[in-house]
Amino acid sequence: MLSFLFKRRAFQGGVHPEDRKQATSHLPIQTLPLPERLYVPVQQHIGAAAQPRVQTGQKVLKGEMIATGSGPVSAAVHAPTSGTVVAVEPHPAPHPSGLPVQTIVIEPDGDDRWVDEPEPEHALNLEPEVIAQRVAEAGVVGMGGATFPAAIKLNLGSRHTIDTLVINGSECEPYLTCDDRLMRERTQEVIDGVRIMRHALGARHTLIVLEDNKPEALAALQEHLYEMDHLEAISVPTRYPMGSEKHMIKAVTGREIPAGKLGADIGVIVHNVGTAYAVHRAVRMRRPLVSRIVTVGGGAVQRPANLQVPLGTRVEELLAYCGGTRETPARLLMGGPMMGQIMPHAQVPVVKGTNGVIALTAAEINIDDPMPCIRCGRCVAACPCGLMPLEMASRIRSEDMDGAAAYGLMDCVACGSCSYVCPSHIPLVQYFQHAKGVLADRREQQRRQEELKELAQQRRARQEAEAKAKAEAAARKKAEREAKKRAQQAKAKEKPAPAKDNEKAEA
């Protein structure tokens, strides 16, 4: 009975939101029919936007690269189906602001024809660098929602010693079941992707980690992993935010990533199961990332589903396929309800990081008007990062951003546990996002000021140099003139006549 006293906690804090996965966890993945238009943004990842390399009117095949990655942190974009490029223009991005982003609009021709049929490769014979290169060419990013280009994280094995590769199948957000279904239906492909990644990283141990609310997926994995060395699937207690990289590492290895470092610095790398599947497609099958699995759910959706969706499909098409909405959703989200982003409207496309499209009713949201903080400390107890959200928020409210930073604002992972438990319904996460934005602006402004200072100094130096040169020139001229004058005077003493000519010449 007292066992709860002795149970080692996976990580401090955390919350237990109702998981609400029952609506879709039993539904197999369905393929969404091709829509009439696909809106493929060039920026679907963290880092620099990709550069479009197709023109309006150009025909493209499925899997053809339509935008190339630019810079060290970027990812290529491929045509999700065969068809014609009808425009390359700004369209609303899947982002709370709804601001436009450069988008390649494709009209499918209905054939869905692949670019070519490459030979499947013996992926485990490839050098790690080649694997990373293949993954980069396929435009694979972190599929759990973070969308960090996956190739960069697969290359870390060359510079760091990686002892543990953790495959994150926790899917700790409520409603979402796309990873669950993926692991259950495409178990072998996922495991193959995991093995390719392990090979690329040279990791000694590999763990596929699931929360204990997905017993079927765990069983499926364990069946296929039977007798595989150093590769096992384990379950961890269901607790949000288990899926956060920092907390997953803490939960399965007991280690913590030091502040300001990466998982690779302590020898652990975390990849999502969806990424493993995409890596399998990219390296084994030589197919780029052109579609993904999306959970359509939430109380406002008529028939929730797990769908395989071509990237660039607008959210409204998904909702329509699921029978539309029962009622006007109070909030339309991309991603889960804890860390997902609110969408301004349904005319935004599904991108590489879209793991769910959730239409919530007001009752599911259950957020009232905020009341003043009563300092109950629940946010402190819930914070998985060991911060004091109430102190940070009160400082941000009185515009003391540095004070908030001193309380550890930059260590916040914005998981939302604090807002979730706050009895006063204070939007703590938004306070933190706001403050992080203000601080980022300040850093940006500071950087600009430094640059401008440099420019101003250069200008002053130049002006001074110019003035000096001028002064010197003037002095020289003057000296010359004097010299001439003296010479003339000397001459004039001898021969006073030609003085007039000289004066003219000088003028």
């Binding site: 602001s97 601001l99 905020p370 306070y431 934005g437 300040r442 401008l452 420019l455 101003a456 200008r459």
Partner: protein, 175 residues
């Protein structure tokens, strides 16, 4: 009576002497504050504070003769830094964070007089005599000096257009 006079005089002399000695041994160099403050200021000598340049602004600040909010290009961030440096408390909530703005030349109105080019503290305007000038937004600090000198009103300050990269979450309404 005499005792009192003697005692007080002796005390005064003794204490005065020992303090004098202490001051000699515990001497400190000049306050490096002015230089430190000057380093914090933008250094563009734009003159928006109403003082001749950043170094005179730094002197005024160090002497507590100017408010820490004097520098518009530095914005709220600089004001806060200065307040901390000078350990004065200041209410910055009224100070609006101005959206960064850039000068833009209306090309049809530019007559190529080069006046803007000459006043720009950061060489953000390029162009030669009798040619239409252009502004490098990267180097522009939005001080607006060029706008003032333009004879044809051909320069305007335009605010930065928000993009996904510059978009920020707003502060929640508190009750």
């Amino acid at each position: 009576m005499y005792a009192a006079i003697v005692v007080l005089t002796a005390m005064g002399l003794l204490l005065g002497y020992s303090l004098g000695m202490a001051a000699k041994y515990l001497k400190v160099e000049k306050d490096p504050l002015v230089d430190e403050i000057e380093d914090m200021l933008p250094g563009t000598n734009c003159g928006q504070c109403g003082l001749p340049g950043c170094s005179s602004a730094a002197q005024a600040l160090a002497a507590h003769e100017a408010p820490v909010t004097l520098c518009p290009p530095g914005g709220k961030a600089l004001a806060q830094q200065l307040a901390d440096k000078l350990s004065v408390s200041v209410d910055l909530s009224g100070m609006e964070e101005e959206a960064p703005a850039f000068a833009r030349i209306k090309e049809d109105q530019c007559n190529g007089c080069t006046r803007c080019y000459k006043v720009c503290a950061t060489d953000a305007i390029m162009g030669a005599n009798r040619q239409i000038h252009t502004v490098f937004t990267e180097a522009c600090n939005g001080c607006g000096k060029c706008v003032e000198v333009c004879p044809t009103n051909g320069l305007v300050l335009v605010p930065e257009t928000p993009t996904l990269r510059t978009w920020r979450w707003s502060k929640p309404e508190a009750r």
